[in-house]
């Protein structure tokens, strides 16, 4: 997928001014965090499970070469095939080759962020194969030719009126006067449209939430059942996935599964958790004749051993973006690539470079909610800071930020000077703030004060108050 992360600032502004987007985000802003909290409160072991989940992923990453080889051996033993891909191009080429060998015309797809990452749909279309997204959200945005704006709720940026409009424009065989006002009606219409496509498809492509080394299995976690129809009905099942999805055993997967649905949608368990191992077996009455896994690296192996390795623990639950004030304000499209929100702000620069994506790790208030809800305890704010450091070191940030930061750093490294500056500044600002205790406008900070007031200092710095407190003996 082509990145537009460079335009974050303009896209974010457009998002803030988009009424439909703001209405849609308003529904998500409260719903996701509430449902997650209720689910977490019901499970006393949740905190301890987060630690267990983190250890499983860390252990696997530390021995990833071993687990990948073991996994591949088991896929082959169960009659499947693994296609290794270093880049998006290699992954797309592997899928195309499988589709061509089967003479495939129609390909159904379950939701796969890796497929979005490699731009699979565009690639297949150019090569004369029709990809049909079957997850309701993915289907809607495919009709609208839009990228997903959320990793588990891809059409979260839309309101139902927009969906109805899209269906009316695209589903031309339906009565133009049909009622299409409620999600129920739209859901039924999509079901009716997609059912024959499931049955007609030659190849079904799904993602994988986990890969199990022990058994060579892939696991998908879904609610709609589209992923299961996608991988059960066609002659060929292709799993589009990436190397960090490995876990050693089913027991390890079970621990992460207990974290996933609760963190994502606040469900105790998703409707369908399906563990697939190889193709149809002798005697089976259904299931695909071929089972392929396309295993993508695309920059992940290079993250191992760096300060960004922990990002590879991510299980794509979306809790970080569901709890992010920046995401909730601007929506997912502003981030300009496949992965939005805090996890995207760390992962996107790792995968496509900080040059294109410098805005993303800066688009954070560092409130820390993302880290506090992450089921595998990824230190997202810390890693965004690492990206800011790299951006600074590579001289990629705007000159005015850089000179401002240099001045601040010069002063901050001289404590005596810093304290006297701080003391004077707080007195002056405290005086200038008058009795109101806040500023409507500040010179050099118009960008900040245009949309909010700045609190005025109370006249004394923390350091001087602390000094006084220690002198009076109250601090002992």
């Amino acid at each position: 997928m082509l990145a537009t992360s460079r335009n974050f600032e303009t896209a974010a502004r457009a998002g803030l001014a988009n009424d439909n987007l703001q209405r849609a985000l308003g529904l998500a802003r409260t719903g996701f965090p509430l449902r997650r909290r209720l689910a977490v409160e019901r499970l006393p072991e949740f905190e301890a499970l987060r630690d267990a989940g983190r250890s499983i992923k860390d252990h696997t990453l530390q021995h990833l070469d071993f687990y990948l080889e073991f996994y591949e051996g088991q896929v082959i033993a169960s009659g499947g095939k693994v296609h290794w891909a270093r880049t998006s191009q290699e992954a797309c080429a592997a899928v195309l080759q499988i589709c061509r060998s089967a003479g495939a015309k129609i390909v159904t797809k379950g939701k796969s962020m890796v497929a979005e990452e490699v731009g699979l749909n565009e690639f297949l279309e150019v090569n004369g194969i029709t990809p049909v997204e079957t997850d309701l959200g993915e289907y809607i945005i495919q009709l609208r030719r839009e990228p997903p704006s959320h990793i588990i709720a891809p059409a979260i940026h839309l309101v139902k009126e927009q969906v109805a409009e899209t269906f009316r424009a695209e589903h031309r065989s339906f009565d133009p006067d049909r009622p299409l006002f409620e999600p129920r009606q739209m859901c039924d219409e999509a079901r009716a449209v997609l059912r024959p496509r499931f049955l007609a498809a030659d190849v079904g492509i799904t993602g994988a939430n986990f890969l199990v080394a022990e058994t060579g299995s892939s696991i998908i976690v879904t609610n709609e059942g589209n992923g299961d129809l996608t991988q059960t009905l066609p002659r060929i099942h292709i799993v589009m996935t990436s190397i960090e999805k490995l876990v050693p055993t089913f027991e390890d997967a079970a621990t992460l599964l207990r974290l996933l649905a609760r963190s994502a949608t606040g469900q105790e368990f998703s409707s369908y958790t399906t563990i697939s191992t190889g193709p149809r077996q002798p005697g089976d009455l259904d299931g695909p004749e071929q089972y392929h896994v396309v295993l993508l690296d695309n920059g992940r192996s290079a993250m191992i051993g760096t300060e960004f390795q922990e990002m590879l623990r991510c299980i794509r639950c979306s809790a970080c973006m569901n709890h992010c004030p920046v995401y909730a304000a601007v929506g997912g499209h502003a981030y300009g690539w496949v992965y939005p929100g805090p996890m995207g702000a760390v992962l996107t620069p790792s995968l496509i470079g900080i040059e294109e994506t410098g805005h993303l790790p800066n688009a954070s208030t560092f409130c820390g909610r993302c880290e506090s809800v992450c089921p595998v305890k990824i230190p997202l704010p810390k890693m965004m800071r690492h990206w800011r450091e790299r951006e600074y070191a590579k001289k990629l940030s705007p000159p005015v930020y850089r000179s401002g930061l240099s001045v601040w750093a010069w002063v901050a490294r001289r404590p005596a000077l810093y304290h006297s500056f701080a003391e004077i500044a707080s007195r002056v600002l405290g005086w200038a703030g008058g009795g109101r205790g806040r500023f409507r406008a500040l010179p050099l900070a118009a960008g900040w004060t245009r949309v909010r007031d700045m609190a005025a200092p109370e006249g004394r710095s923390f350091h001087s108050l602390w000094e006084q407190r220690m002198k009076s003996g109250a601090g002992r």
Binding site: A28, L49, A52, H63, L64, D65, F66, L68, F70, G73, Q74, A77, V82, H83, W84, L136, G137, A153, P154, L158, K160, P183, M186, C187, A190, R195, L199, E214, E224, G225, D228, T232, L233, I243, P248, T249, E251, A254, T255, L257, T265, Q267, E268, F269, S271, Y272, T273, I275, T277, G278, P279, G283, D284, L285, D286, G287, L295, S301, I304, G305
Partner: protein
Amino acid sequence: MSETRERILADIRNSLGRGRLDATVDTELRARIARHRRNLVPGRATALDGQGRVELFITMAEEVQATVTRVSSPTAVPEAVARYLAAENLPAELVMAPDPGLEKIPWSTWPLLRIRRGRAEPEDRVSVTPCHAAIAETGTLMLVSGAQAPTTLNFLPETHIVLVRADQVVATYEDGWDRLRIGKAPEVLPRAVNFITGPSRTADIEQHIELGAHGPRRLHIVLVENGQATRSEENEQYSAPAGR
């Protein structure tokens, strides 16, 4: 392709700052897989006895809009199924898994039920399947594919009826998985293991939860309190390969 494979593995080892793992670590990791030790397992269901597990399973399944009928013995199943279909205004026509356990149920006592055995076809509206286990902690059904249990039955029809024996209700996912591992042959897992928790649903339009997105709109569980008679041994035992 194998060149790509070698390069990815080399890149990973390079990032980890080491070469191939030495034999000792390799053996340890194989042993870790073979042990498949459980991690922390929530206590919600593990402390319960059989009856307690059944009650929790039903509570959790109903919470996610599955419906449950309890019957005392396999002989009561045909009537329970027929009554459910009538109440839901569904035709008395089913496609059923060709499972030896299900065959032991006296379906002929309810002659109005028309039953076809096999995989699901697009026109089928109601399916009946057995399950491998039922998991109390989240009200989850565990179904495994096989010659006697086609996977299409779980997803194509609008209504999915699952027969659960009380002695199939286990506490956790791991307990269900152990039931797959116990035993000898075959060496490979069934192609599909489906954990099913309530009917199909979506919240993709304005976060509004709608049932029956693509899979079944209804998931009905017939729980047989005393169902030993319907056990089908050959369908129960698999073992996963433990290290190679």
